[in-house]
């Protein structure tokens, strides 16, 4: 057990999965890096360094590709169909735009369309989310979109501990899993066991426990919500903070149980509001916990706009502690 960054925790999970199972391999753009060059092949380890060192131990199972996202996802899906356990990296979640067919029309639906006779145990990893002034094509969450496709499992870790355990679960899972790593959290640290461990899908984490309001947050919004809740605790307001960790499957029970107890719900996500997770969770509570509600459900999310470049604009765009605190208070009337 030691303090590890989310980057290192994911890297450790990849190493351990590679050690345990020879059918696991890593594929993507620059996951090794420098191939074909006069330089140091393997020195890159992905643009965020998440696959560092894998090439040096398993050169045959750390596969650099051309810039060809459709072929990367398709190759992962095809290898998985015949029994491998690929872990593909798509550099930015936004690039789902390039390879959407292979994800949603192909790998997501194989098992159902083939009458339950196939398995596609592929994992696709993405860096996701805002906070880097990376503008409209390198900042999107995207997991809220992918959650709407049956057949895909969707994971959004909010800390290093969860990231490691969830990734090991993802790699061992026999369904296709999309694994979204909030890139603003790569450098964030927490205690992470050295040994391999798994965290089940569909099991939410209660990050804070309280009586007055239920707060559900995703990805990089979890630490922001935790900080906001800690500040409100000094004002005598106590909140449950639920991190679902996987958006599909979703731990509906944990959310409904908490809402039944508090009667109030705030949902926080960094993506825009329409057809997103905040609306999804709000609808869940309105449908299945209506009798418990004592006040309006509040959604805290980005506006219906692309992610802006300028730091001032992005700061206004992304939910922050003040918006979360205001929403919590608004549910209390």
């Amino acid at each position: 057990m030691s303090q590890k960054t989310m980057r290192d925790a994911i890297n450790e999970a990849l190493h351990q999965a590679m050690e345990q199972d020879e059918s696991v391999f890593v594929i993507g753009e620059d996951v090794a890096g420098c191939n074909g060059s006069a330089g140091d092949v393997g020195a890159v380890g992905g643009v965020f360094g998440v696959t560092t060192g894998i090439y040096h131990r398993w050169p045959d199972r750390c596969i650099d590709t051309p810039i060809s996202e459709s072929a990367i996802v398709g190759a992962a899906a095809g290898a998985a169909l015949v029994g491998m356990r690929p872990v593909a990296e798509i550099m930015f979640a936004d690039f789902i735009g390039v390879c959407m067919d292979q994800i949603v029309n192909q790998m997501a639906k194989f098992r159902y369309m083939f009458g339950g006779k196939s398995r596609c145990p592929a994992v696709i990893r993405f860096s996701a989310g805002g906070g880097f002034s990376a503008a409209g094509q390198h900042s999107q969450a995207m997991y809220q979109v992918m959650t709407s496709f049956p057949g895909l499992k969707v994971v959004v870790p909010s800390n290093a501990y969860d990231a490691k355990g969830l990734l090991l679960t993802a790699i061992a899972d026999d369904d296709p899993v999309l694994f979204f790593e909030p890139k603003i959290l790569y450098q964030e640290t927490c205690e992470v066991p050295d040994d391999p461990y798994t965290i089940p899908f569909g099991e939410a984490n209660f990050v804070r426990e309280g009586d007055d309001v239920t707060v559900v947050a995703f990805g990089q919004m979890v630490p922001k919500a935790a900080a906001a809740i800690d500040e409100l605790a000094e004002e005598g307001i106590s909140c449950d903070l639920i991190d679902p960790r996987t958006t599909s499957p979703l731990d509906e029970g944990a959310i409904l149980e908490s809402v039944a107890a508090t009667g109030r719900l705030v949902v926080v996500d960094e993506a825009p509001p329409r057809c997103g997770l905040t609306a999804d969770i709000a609808a869940l509570a309105a449908d299945k916990a209506f009798a418990s509600l004592k006040g309006p459900i509040k959604q805290v999310c980005a506006p219906h706009s692309p992610t802006p470049f300028s730091p001032e604009l992005e700061a206004a765009y992304l939910p922050d502690g003040n918006k979360i605190k205001a929403a919590i208070k608004a549910t209390m009337g």
Partner: protein
Amino acid sequence: MSIPSETLSNAYRLMKTIREFEERVNAEIMNGQIPGFTHLYTGQEANAVGVCAHLDASDTIISTHRGHGHCIAKGADVSGMMKELFGSSEGLCKGKGGSMHVADIDKGILGANGIVAGGPPISVGSALAAKIRKNGKVAVSFSGDGSVNQGTCFEAMNMAVVLEVPAVFVIENNYYSEHTNISYAVGCDDLKARTEAFGFPVFVADGADFFAVYEAAGKAIDHARAGHGPAGVFAEQGRYHGHFVGDPQHYRGEGELDDLRENHDCLKNFRARMAETNELDAATLDAIDADVMAEIEQAVVDAKAAARPTAAQVTEDVYINYGAGA
């Protein structure tokens, strides 16, 4: 080939402007003044300028994540670009797009583009418009050696042939798709032949030599403008910086960057040619250098003083109008 001296001096001015713009942007990123992900074009200036010298404002270009040079070569307002990179609301894109999305539609610049090979299909659309309107315009897409392995690039090239549109595909080979060498990422030995197999001619140039690019691009653009369908330009020239600012460049061989800067420099090559031919004298080139330095300095001063965007602007410009009463 005789090139008018005004074209020559403009070309030199634009290449020098790109060089100084990029080097200053690099310095300002290091100073923490410019946020986000930035990809510099230094070293490849002759590509953009040699191509755009054949275009007027109503021809279009579409660019890449490494787009500053293409935009400047096509006539983008340099001060407005600098303000955009600084995130000002006075920037060309009001601080919404930044480095990867600089655009100047009135100048025929359909935008830098953050998606590899996002541009070629869009450029085919611009070329199709020119064909339908019979206005003699051409549409140029710049993309890199990394882009040629994307399906969108293949689809655009084939459809441009099928539709017989005046699309010009400029492929800039800087040898690295991000951190991976072209010798690994492109599976065939002859990319020119692979591209020509789509059914259009490709003209190859040394990207460190403005005159070579100018000549090759002239052939391709004349071909397209004359209604013979698409054409391609391959320009080979390494970039002097990393894939992005901050890239440790582990893929470089020993002495590779020194060799590029020493022996493959479009500005040095241009000056050497002028010294031979006396088409432009050294004093004229020195005066251009001084002008450019002053322009870039002023652009940075103005960018630092320019207005900052406000929160209310986040939701502006998502649509022209939207919803009830809009």
